[in-house]
Amino acid sequence: MSITPADTATAQTTAAPPRAKGFWTGRSEFAFVAFLYALAVFFTIGTATMHVLGKALPGPRLFPVIVCVLLYATATMLAIHIIRHRHLPDTEPHPGHGDFSADLLSDLAHITDEHTATRGPGMSNRSRTYSDWKTVGMIAGAAVAFISLLKVVGWILCAAFLFWVVAHALGSKRPVFDLGLALLLSSVIQLAFTAGLGLPLPSGFLEGLL
């Protein structure tokens, strides 16, 4: 995640990158390319079938065309880049998730060898995927359940459920305590919003009780 001084980074010895196996190893970023193409296609269809009102030139289509060209171009360039360079879980620093070039910052700060060691991702060779999809899936599932049930079940129970699942998925070991904490938080929010700010949150089937 960041450029960190060498002395602590050595505490977590970074595992050697796993050996490349098939074509797809280290090329999962094609998912992002696919997303860019999907977005580009959606906006192309939208631009082509747009029901344009008014006759002013340049009209509402000009800018979408520029954006589509940008999306197609970057998606294609990124695809070529991924084909040429496999991107295995790396130990490179990525300040701000890539918002800034680590090379540029290092040059500005005259950072030489003493700072180049980085906090590695700590990838263990036992995991098959870089991302922990089980944890991500639990949270995404809880969010889907929260949104689908919000109107029916009400804010207090839905928000408590969401809090509890996320805390549990991220490694909390105290399920009963978490349940109390979750209910307390969601009730306090409901109270503050309804009584204090005057914004109603759905109370669901608890309607009559509250």
Binding site: S2, T4, P5, T8, A11, P17, A31, F32, F35, L36, L39, F43, V52, L53, G54, A56, L57, P58, P60, L62, F63, P64, V67, L70, L71, M77, H81, H85, H87, D90, E92, H94, P95, G96, H97, G98, D99, F100, L104, A109, P121, G122, S124, Y130, S131, D132, W133, T135, V136, F146, I147, L150, A159, L162, F163, V166, A167, L170, L181, I189
Partner: protein, 511 residues
Amino acid sequence: MDQISLLLEGFSNALTPMNLLWVVLGAILGTAVGVLPGMGSAMAVALLLPITFSLEPTAAFIMFAGVYFGGLFGDSTAGILLNTPGHSSAIASTFEGHRMAKNGHAAKALATCALGAFIGGLIATTLMVFFAPALVKLATVFGPAEYFALAVFAFLAISAVVSESVIRGLAALGIGLALALVGIDGPSGTARFTLGMPELFDGISVVVITVGLLALGEVFHIASRIHRDPVATRITPAGKARITWVDFRKALPAWLRGTAFGAPFGLIPAGGAEVPTFLAYGTEKQLAKRRRDPEFGTTGSIRGLAAPEAAANATAGTAMGALLALGLPTSATAAIMLAAFQQYGMQPGPLLFERSGDMVWALLASLFIGLVILVAINLPFASVWAKLLSIPRHYLYAGITVFSMLGVYAISSSLVDLWLLLAIGLVGFMMRRYNVPLAPVLIAVILGPMAETELRRALAVSQGDLRILVDSPITITLYAVLAAGLIISAIQHLRHRHDHDKAPAKEDVPA
């Protein structure tokens, strides 16, 4: 001196008990957010945005200002004590700051940070009071072509010049511009990319996009790594953050040098405080080498910490000036604050000073009040703030998830917004996974509509003649500076690719 009387009037407006309460609340929230690792001031402002809609604009902005500065005050705490900077603008302070903490000077390091943030912020805010009217005057000569050039400058500076990978930066820019296109097109009334859904006629709310990308995306990212990454060990600071007179004298020149680096960068859309903090750190490093300072790089030099801290807050101070006077957001946080202005139906720029002068000067005055309050709650209670670091991460992120849903639901009680939030959160996760920068998306979402309107206006005036875009000295200068930046950054990338190619183990570096 017109500004002084206006500022004094601003103080009289800002010093009401209610407004003071908002400043204090903002400062406390901001510091808490800054201390908590993984939460930046951008995320805090995004999460607060929907909740402050029930406040009056002045109160909301005073609170945002407290959060913005407060975030920077607390930012380095995690870096110093854990060696994991919560935000990339705190990386440069972490180098020497953590060394000082490891050698038993944690309290001194925290005090250096708080005072550095105060001095940097104070000088930059003062400069802004005197230069804002000049910026406003500059902005009044801007026509459509100039505003379009300014937007293009911001887009390319953030996506291509400072970002790690030019391709990914431009892709992020494309995503942001595309998201901003959804909705009814103002000039012609055409519905664009709405799939016929009335919920989308007003466009995708900026709150949904920022909360999804910054908050929910971060939750998913943490979830994907929390069981795999090692945990950092924490150093507990003892007692009050204090600093001796000798140390103060030693740090003072570094604070001033840091401010000098930070202040101009607030006006340049280069993504925020990262570039000036690293520049400030690099300068201190070179100076230490010349001075043969034995502390630098070993036991931790107070100067190496003081300079980047002052630089970060000085950047924030002048960034507020650029935001208010030009309507130009120079970082992701500033972009979200601009969105807040727009939600209240105000457009920062010359007209804001004319129409809502009272509010602008009250806001500027409250920045000074905020700085004083921040230094007062940060110096004596630094170790109390550091206790926030012991909140377990699972509760922190569970809370962020619930607050994201709450904030988005609160804007229009719409389930469509919540589904969009989830989808954008997953996109944010994917972008973090592949280190696609997020700042270009936010800047594009917020400046995209302005860029489109100004481009169409300019081309309508010239009847389609593209030369109007490069027809004035201001536009030519902007494009020339941008071109220079792009060329320098291209050389930089090529040189480093060459270096990486020579080292065979590093061939998988993203371009």
